[in-house]
Amino acid sequence: MAVANSNNDLLLFLKQDCETCQLVKPVVDDLKKKGVDIEVYVQDYPDYYEELSPNDDTSLEASFNWNVETTPTLIQTSGKGSTLRVEGWDKKGWQDVLGVEDLGENLPDFRPGCGSKSREPGVYENLMATYGDVGIQSRGIELGNWDDDMEICYERGWTDGLPVTPPTDARIWRMLQGTNRKPDEVIGKVPPNLAPITVEKAAINAVLAGCKPEYFPVVIAALEAALDPVFTMHGLLCTTCFSSPIIVINGPIAKSIGMNWGMNVLGQGNRANATIGRALQLIIRNVGGGVPGDLDRSTFGGPGKYTFCFAEDETDDSWESLSVTRGFEKGENTVTLFQGDGIQGFIDQRSQTPEQITKSLASSLLAVGHPKLAEFTNAMLVLSPEHYEIYKKEGWDRNKITEALHKEMIRPGSELIQGAGGIGEGIDTSRADEMVNKFWLEGLLIVRAGGKAGLYSAICAGWTGGRFRHESKPVTKKITL
């Protein structure tokens, strides 16, 4: 339907499922009988407007091409480019466009129209992909009628083992609407292949992962954090260790996009938590080439390599959030990436004072990596609301808790050196006379999250790359909306 080349001066878009369209039907009928040449397009049931000799626009191509947002829409084209349009029933507007003074005398002066079918949720992006120019540059993989798109994604090696959302132009274009950044902008080079990644490639992988467009700025920020050299994503991917990026979200965006920081926070079930973390992993796999068994040489891997992303509980003002501790303003949206493993459950249902719970937590934190290793890995402690409550009621804040935990984990080097206690593993024998910290002072990250009931907390061991104190660190980045 070559609408753009239509010779008609007057176009009218209608649908049956619109009371205002039905209201104007006799008016248009009358005009047509008087010889006014109006080209009518019907979006749903053309037969309903049979007497108006309408064009069938159930494909919505003409509605899309004329950028119709409302039905009825009356459009007058005058020469090249210049058009007048009236949306809904506006007696004066219609009279002016059509030059008929007594038009619709029996009708009210004004009736608003209905939304155009071409603007219904999920429709517009498909029309864009079919009739518009979405400008996607990535190479296409053509599917035949009998191809199963989900299976093709597996065959191409694009998945982490779970099904992915097939990346069609409509879905990619919709994802790109989640950011103001240009599709061809290069965000960085993704290890291990150090392949350049554009915003468009990130969007394709966010589609695969199942993200919504409003998550996309978070995915981009997480990617930027992962590509910061000091995050050492390259080593983290190729390592024989268990670790992968653990992503913590701070700021109001967590609530805006429906993230979970409460019950089952480190588990399954929340779309934003699940897919943001997964998008980063799929980018590393698909763009970076970080495929298990090839350059991902992890002995065991870990469930976090599918996805590990959650929000901090910022509903209690007495708790200073992770991002504020790391130098960002309260209320700023941030992602923090930590190189970590799965969860070591911490159970303490007996401690009643801050001192008791500190000793108790410290005893479990000492097991991170190996009880005799020190300043060798970082750690993330996910402190539950009930455990925090023990501190809060005595007025302990984040700083005091952190300081007390570090202090509780200082041990004589003589007990930790290699061979001590009949255990080969341990710190260097030269440190036998030192008092030794378990973690670097900045190497213990505490996040408050989890369900309101349960005297448990969660410890995520850090990666062994953390022993290079100044070379491999967690990274926090601002999320730009």
Binding site: I136, S138, R139, G140, I141, E142, L143, G144, N145, D147, D149, I152, C153, E155, R156, G157, W158, P166, P167, T168, D169, I172, V190, N193, A195, P196, I197, K201, I204, N205, L208, L282, N286, V287, G288, G289
Partner: protein, 174 residues
């Protein structure tokens, strides 16, 4: 007919087709599956291959699909995976044989069994097209076409003619 288009999420630094699994460095101690696709007279060709492998002290096991017009039943695929290390699939000389046996080659490759498909020259394009569609860089060897009207001796001669190429494709180049 093109029904839809998906966009490549990779860095596009590699070809679209997935590389086939690397075959073993040598066939010592390995078992080669000789998979008859179930098409007429393929067995005569495979009989000769079996003899040739035996002469070279290479262990083989014979398998046969119930029909060349479908992909191999899951049970057969799993049996080959359990019992062998490399697969030789023969002999495709028609459209459905080619499409189905190429899927068999791909399915076995996914399960850790590298292999080669043997087809007649006429179906070189069909094999390459099917590989293109499923994104698999499968290995193939082609014999003269047609083969249905040949004598048994001629089919054996075809097998003799491709033996060295076959051995090269089911072992890694040194």
């Amino acid at each position: 007919m093109i029904a839809s288009v998906l966009r490549d999420p990779t860095a596009e630094t590699t070809q679209l087709k997935r590389n086939r699994l690397a075959p073993p460095a040598s066939l010592d101690g390995k078992v080669v599956a000789l998979m008859d696709i179930g098409k007429m007279r393929g067995d005569e060709f495979i009989d000769r291959l079996e003899q040739l492998f035996k002469m070279k002290n290479i262990a083989t096991k014979r398998y046969k699909k119930p029909t060349n017009t479908r992909t191999a039943p899951t049970e057969l695929v799993q049996k080959i995976v359990q019992e062998t290390d490399v697969v030789v699939i023969a002999l495709s000389d028609c459209g459905s044989c080619t499409s189905c046996s190429t899927h068999d080659l791909n399915d076995l490759d996914h399960l850790g069994i590298p292999g080669v498909s043997i087809l007649t020259e006429e179906f070189r394009e069909a094999f390459n097209g099917q590989c293109e569609k499923i994104g698999f860089d499968g290995a193939s060897i082609f014999t003269p076409h047609p083969m249905q009207n040949k004598t048994t001796q001629e089919l054996h001669d075809f097998a003799d003619g491709i033996l060295e190429e076959l051995l090269a494709k089911i072992t890694q180049p040194v």
